[in-house]
């Protein structure tokens, strides 16, 4: 099996690569590439993302044909895809970081700044916070409710269809921390930085 981590100059993806390689060992081949043919032929795709919504969308668009290839992969061919952090946020129709920017539009909704309640809550939301699992998700197999995951973000994804939310976390409000829509998975937290439980979630995705 091939799992491809999309390398589209979206910032620092070393930790994502290291964690997937750690979980995959020799069983699964982990590719790190922006090569469209390799993405097409892989079994699963991971879409990481760091920095701003706009910088990530711009970086995707800078690689000719990449968005179409990802659309084919996830929407037309319905193959498993995992978005991490801004990778998840880009599923939305639109994001408001820096300036209004169109997303991939895979899951209707928007990405806006977390309400810090007039400075009562620090932003970025950095650190370990707990999962409130609200719906069974394949990537949460054997993951206990209230497990701690590592977060670092100032913007949150607000999907229109709340039924797609698989877990939330409590901060200034209930922040969406994971979604599942058919073959499309996303986590706002960083499984690659969330210790053993994070690696377990990566393993669940690889094992789908």
């Amino acid at each position: 099996m091939n799992v491809t981590i999309v390398d589209y100059n979206s910032g620092n993806i070393s930790s994502v690569i290291n964690s997937f390689k750690e979980v995959a060992k020799d069983k699964v081949n982990i590719e790190v590439t922006s090569d469209l043919n390799k993405i097409k032929s892989s079994d699963k795709v991971v879409l990481p993302g760091q920095g701003s919504f706009k910088s990530c969308v711009d970086a995707l668009n800078n690689i000719s044909g990449l968005v179409d290839t990802l659309n084919d992969f996830a929407i037309n061919n319905k193959k498993p895809l995992l978005g991490i952090c801004v990778g998840l946020q880009m599923f939305a129709d639109v994001g408001y970081e820096e300036t209004e920017t169109k997303g991939l539009g895979w899951i209707s909704g928007k990405v806006s700044k977390i309400d810090n309640q007039n400075g009562k809550y620090k932003l970025p939301h950095i650190g370990w916070n707990q999962l409130n699992i609200v719906k069974d998700s394949k990537i949460f197999k054997d993951i206990k409710n209230n497990s701690h995951m590592y977060f670092v973000h100032s913007y949150e994804f607000i999907p229109d269809d709340k039924n797609l939310i698989s877990a939330t976390t409590d901060y200034s409000s209930k922040i969406v921390c994971s979604v599942e829509k058919d073959n499309i998975f996303g986590t706002q937290f960083h499984p690659e930085k969330s210790d053993k439980i994070g690696l377990k979630i990566i393993n669940n995705f690889i094992s789908l």
């Binding site: 910032g11 760091q50 916070n129 994070g198």
Partner: protein
Amino acid sequence: MLKNRIIPCLDVKNGRVVKGINFVDLQDAGDPVEQAKIYSDGGADEICFLDITASNENRDTIYDVVEKTSKKCFVPLTVGGGVRSVEDINKLLNCGADKVSINTAAVQNPEVVVESSKKFGSQCIVVAIDAKKNGDKWEIFTHGGRNNTGIDAIEFANKMEDSGAGELLVTSMDRDGTQVGYDIDLMSKISSMVNIPVIASGGVGNLDHLVDGIKLGKASAVLAASIFHYGKHSVKEAKEYLDSKGIPVRI
């Protein structure tokens, strides 16, 4: 709810840990990779490396350490010390650091903070503020605490938030190495003023100091070196103690 973080810090010189611990099961007490792994297995919420390598020819040793550590530890890794430019930050991130802390360069050339937070995202830019009390204010020191810039630490903290820092690592130079506790006034002043998380550093000698850093200093995270290095306390003990004092921690 969001937990307060405990961050053990390792001083690394020429690729080796300075002030090493004597863990019985440690094969190589000077190996930062092995020590980081012990901390992360013990429940450290993040790991911090401070590179204190003096000579330029040995600077590359830290990259090797970061690369190896990031393949073994799956909690966030912050690396600081000698970071001068956007290129230095890029190199550390590519080796597997999750955050880079900038000290002297942030004072001398704040553009580095602006540029790097735009390029890599605020989430990976930590500005390290070394401050020393002078009368009723605190002044910023650079070059590992050797140079007094006369810059007001509180104003500088504000400026760094505006420049795009994702977190501030605040060290009291008066307290560093003394084991008498954090400079609570300094921590709480900065933490109350900025909207980004503050990591308290400098002066921890016992577990109550960690409690004070969070409760009184209002820090989001507490960093300590020697209480963990010398095996006085494990990270696990620290967390259990904080938990017993009603501080939310990841256990």
